[in-house]
Amino acid sequence: MIVNQFLILAAALFALGVYGLLVRRNIVLILLSVELMLNAVNINLVAFESMLNTPEAVGQVFAIFVITVAAAEVGIGLAIVLMIFRNRRSANVDDLNLMRW
């Protein structure tokens, strides 16, 4: 196995995530897309780790941290979604354009 096969897969996932983030209207779905991106990053890290085999397995540690942070992000994100929903009865980002220029 070469490392690039993982990297390219990760790149693809990341791109998909970006696409989702740009296209999705529903905030929850946007969060999902973000998860895809972070996941891509994880793939990168782990792949690199097993390519380099660092003494302290830094890559994997990094991946674990990313996963944790991602979880926290989700929590925060959903909380915000709920708050907005409570005020606006909608989880649609397009409705959020009160403030401009």
Binding site: V3, L7, F14, G17, V18, L21, I27, I30, V34, M37, L38, A40, V41, N44, L45, A47, F48, M51, L52, T54, V58, G59, V61, F62, F65, V66, V69, A72, E73, I76, G77, A79, I80, M83, I84, R86, N87, R88, V93, L96, N97, L98, M99, R100, W101
Partner: protein, 493 residues
Amino acid sequence: MPFEIDYLALAPELIIVGTLILVLVLDLILPRPQKYWTATVAVAGTALALLPLGLLALNDETISMFDGSYVVDDFALVLKGLFLVAAYLVFLMSHHYIESERYYQGEYYFLLLASVLGSLVMASSRDLIVLFIGLELVTGPLFLLAGWRKGDVKSNEASMKYFILGVLSTAILLYGMSLVFGLTGEVSFAGIAAATAGMSDEPALVMAILFMMVGFGFKIAAVPFHFWAPDTYEGAPTPISAYLSVNSKAAGFVAMLIVMYQALPGASDVWAPILWLLAALSMTIGNLSALRQTNIVRLLAYSSVAQAGFMLVPFAAAAVAGADLQQAFGATLIYLVIYAVMNLGAFAVVIAGARKTASGELSRWAGLARVDPILGVLTAVFFFSLAGIPPLAGWFAKFEMFRSVIIADPGTISLAVIAAVNTVIALYYYAKVVKSVWLDDPVGEFPGDAAAAPAGSLRLALGVAVALTVAIGVYPSMAAFVRDAAQVLATGG
């Protein structure tokens, strides 16, 4: 393998941790009317955390822990000082604001303290992972705090925009970091620096640097990663906007400084041009956008974008052969410190003014000085300082900034000229604020309790800010020690 831990070195972080736990506890036991104690505790804690800094500053040997992934040197101390003082001022501003609006107080201070903790950690980080976690801790709570005015849809929107763009930037940043790791097999800056020595022509590295820069660029709201700033500043509670525009921006800069000068000094010929571009864009677009703002907070938002541009200028000099890296580094740092002081002052003025005018619209601020000359004077001081007019602190920041790029090199000179032109543009809208406060005739009565003086804490904040602004302006040597701190780090470069 066990690590020996220097607790004095960690004291500031530990004190903050203690404070935020104490705040939580107090929040649970205190009945609502007494909850303002949490604020007091937070302020006290922050002040207390400044003490060990002093002690550490006295002995200037560098303390390095955990395989050098966590370092306490002068540079770190200066920044921690900056973060703590800024936080201290923000707390002072928040106190009355939060209490009077019946927001959740305990949680508010808890989250803010957490964010402060993050910034402290980041200042000492010499390692991608620590840096990343630190940044997350700085930002995470802010996503929530931006939406603290739960009832107000604008506030919701603010936090939502901030959050979505925040996570996007985090993802990109992480991707960049992963590439760096992959290329070097290291996460410690020292290691990376060693490994990337001759690698500057490696496209993947360039890409990695770019992606990381996107992450930092978001934090410091540099064009084109600035879109969130105006909306968020406007929607968020004003003290949070202040915090965003100072601490979180500073955090971003610190990250950038460390990574660029510590981890990637070898690749300066890669990142210097990029930052040249970002600087030029941020200055120009930020200023031009600010020209048309009618809402004073949005105006400050764009101004902070432009100011970020000015702070980026010195980076561009780093690539030039024979450039004085310490000088460039110190310039950014000094600018950061001075900017923090005067920008916080400006926001404090906004809070105080908003109480009188009950509006953030500049038009409603017209003639404010008639009813409150002191506030008028303060407005003049802070905004002219931001404009960089002597003898207010701002001039020295600009001065240092120019000083770092006046090198015999077309690239930097051209940037200097761009900066000079922008200084004048910026002048226009800063003067516009002062103008409407002093020169315009009031439109009707001031709805807010025009008589009400700013709350004691806010007055204290204003006092500190104005004192520092004038003092540094008249005797800039005060701020010069920052340069010595800068040397520690920049010698790596």
